[in-house]
């Protein structure tokens, strides 16, 4: 394995995870939904997978399926309840959901014990969380075995996002973002499409959470708090919310920036906060804003042609 890879494999793994998370929130944002529930769904995925692989011999690649299904099953009724709320109200309700997931993970054992005869039963293990045993990384085809599932998952999710954006589904979701009422009178079942985006987004976040379990090794409620939800949001805001490539760029920049600028390490939150603020105010379309790049290209090329005639 090349030196660069072996030194930075953790960062690369986290970039891959965060790209998938960024794509998950892109789905809801491109429908005009500000949902902050993705950290919660990520937690559902991570806990489910961690419980399965610590207690059974089921491999990670299979354990991801129930994790994603469970998140989708939770997202469906939750979405039916909260998706008729708009803007701020939706954000607050989904924030509340994230908190409830955290509280559930923290206190889950109390509930489990209440139903079980074993009064010392440990499942979620409260604030300490679930620890996965250390497995020495193996190199498979030039990459560590922990990276392959992440890479494959990211490719699948990117393919889905790309296909979706360029299909009639993507058009419909974009139309809902731009004018919900007009879309509704054009025969679009707005609630159904919002639900579709919400459930897909939840499943994708849960999948990323599931695959992140072996990378993080310790699954505890602190990893999925409000600030994780905001991290995920920041990927999409910085990268841009109108193109699937946006969150990919956003996640890469925000995950690798603290590593590149190592003096920022202690100030990750300040840097995140600044990036969120500055990009909302000064880069409203994000880094990947086709409109901005097009006008920039026109500006530069226009200059060039006028320069050549002069």
């Amino acid at each position: 394995m090349p030196d660069f890879l072996s030194h930075n494999i953790t960062v690369i793994n986290f970039i891959l995870i965060n790209m998938a998370l960024g794509l998950s929130i892109y789905l809801t944002l491109s429908t005009g939904l500000l949902s902050l529930a993705n950290a919660g769904f990520m937690a559902i995925g991570a806990y489910t997978t961690a419980l399965i692989i610590t207690r059974t011999d089921i491999p990670l690649g299979v354990a991801i399926v129930p994790a994603m299904l469970l998140a989708a099953l939770v997202a469906l009724p939750l979405g039916m309840l909260v998706l008729r709320l708009r803007d701020v109200y939706l954000a607050i309700a989904t924030l509340g959901f994230g908190e409830i997931v955290r509280i559930a993970a923290l206190n889950g054992d109390k509930v489990v014990r209440w139903f079980s005869d074993n009064k010392d039963l440990i499942v979620f293990n409260g604030a300490e969380g679930i620890t996965l045993s250390y497995v020495t990384p193996k190199i498979v085809l030039g990459l560590p075995d922990s990276t392959w599932p992440l890479l494959i998952y990211l490719l699948v999710v990117t393919y889905l996002a790309f296909t979706l954006q360029n299909s009639r589904y993507g058009r419909v979701l974009a139309s809902i973002r731009q004018d919900e009422t007009a879309a509704h009178t054009l025969g679009i079942d707005v609630v159904r499409y919002k639900l579709l985006a919400f459930v897909l987004s939840a499943a994708i976040a849960a999948g990323a959470g599931a695959l992140s379990a072996p990378v993080m090794r310790v699954i505890d409620p602190r990893n999925y708090v409000f600030s994780k939800a905001v991290d995920i949001l920041a990927y999409a805001v910085l990268g841009g919310m109108t193109h699937w490539f946006g969150p990919i760029v956003g996640a890469t920049v925000l995950t690798s920036l603290p590593e590149i600028l190592s003096f920022l390490k202690d100030q990750r939150d300040v840097a995140n906060g600044l990036i969120i603020m500055i990009s909302t105010i000064y880069l409203p379309g994000g880094l990947v804003d086709p409109k901005m790049w097009r006008s920039l290209a026109k500006f530069v090329l226009g200059r060039n042609t006028s320069g050549s005639t002069a």
């Binding site: 058009r171 009422t181 007009a182 009178t185 054009l186 079942d189």
Partner: protein, 262 residues
């Protein structure tokens, strides 16, 4: 002419039956009834604040009625959400243009075409033949529709970049993509200059000749009187006259309430 036609065609397409809408204590319209027969164009006129747009919103399901019923081909529309009403063949344009500004012109029309697509999400993800074929076909049909409106050159542009008159035309194209039985137009000529209005008028006449049923709100009396088979006049939420353009034009109450002002 309107009365004669109603004898030949006894079943109305749209029945507005004693409808009332109140917002709190404010009455938008009260006990309004009239029918629109298939293939005819009905002009809905009245001074500002007469409740015309609210009535259109009620027909397309955006607001619930306080009383009364609206029927399409005899089936009630009450309680149906807007997308189901659209699926039954009612489409509309808005007084304040509501195109999707970040989509391209043809994509806007494709949103209107959307109900014709049957491909499922899984077919889309795996790019199965049906979804790809549907996509090609819908693009082709929508380009054709734009060509009918003389907008084929604009199809690739972002809709938000269009001129005001073109945005209005795009909104009509989008509504037509739904293949409606009933088209609701809310002041389609508002903000247009004389030339654009004339072009729009020609297009509306062409639409009328395709036997499409139209309910049109318009302040341009000239357009209304020339295009409508039937005119309904609302004033302060009450229907004060109904009939052929000529009879309405000569109705004393209409002249008092509306034309008298001009």
């Amino acid at each position: 002419m309107y009365r004669d036609m109603s004898l030949i065609e006894p079943k109305p397409l749209l029945e507005i039956d004693g409808v009332t809408k109140k917002f709190g204590g404010v009455v938008a319209f009260e006990d309004v009834s009239f029918n629109i027969y298939p293939g005819l164009t009905c002009g809905l006129i009245g001074p500002n604040g007469a409740g015309k747009t609210t009535l259109l919103n009620a027909i397309s399901g955006l607001i619930p009625l306080s009383m009364g019923e609206i029927r399409l081909s005899g089936d009630t529309l009450s309680g149906l959400p807007p997308h189901k009403i659209a699926a039954r063949g009612v489409s509309r344009t808005f007084q304040n243009i509501r195109i999707f500004p970040e989509l391209s012109v043809v994509e806007n029309v494709m949103i209107g075409w959307h109900l014709n697509n049957k491909g499922t999400l899984l077919e889309t993800f795996f790019r199965l033949p049906r979804s790809r074929m549907e996509d090609r076909e819908s693009r082709k049909s929508c380009l054709g529709l734009l060509a009918d409106l003389g907008m084929e050159d604009l199809s690739g542009l972002q809709a938000g970049a269009l001129s005001y008159g073109d945005q209005r035309r795009l909104e009509i194209a989008r509504a037509l993509a739904l293949k409606p039985r009933l088209l609701l137009l809310d002041e389609p000529a508002a903000g247009m200059n004389r030339r654009e209005t004339d072009e729009l008028f020609e297009f509306l006449v062409m639409l009328k000749n395709t036997a499409l049923t139209i309910l049109i709100i318009e302040h341009d009396m000239d357009v209304i009187m020339r295009i409508s088979d039937q005119v309904v006049v609302l004033n302060f939420g009450v229907k004060i006259a109904e009939g052929s353009p000529d009879s309405v034009r000569n109705d004393r109450r209409v002249i008092e309430a509306y034309l008298g002002e001009e």
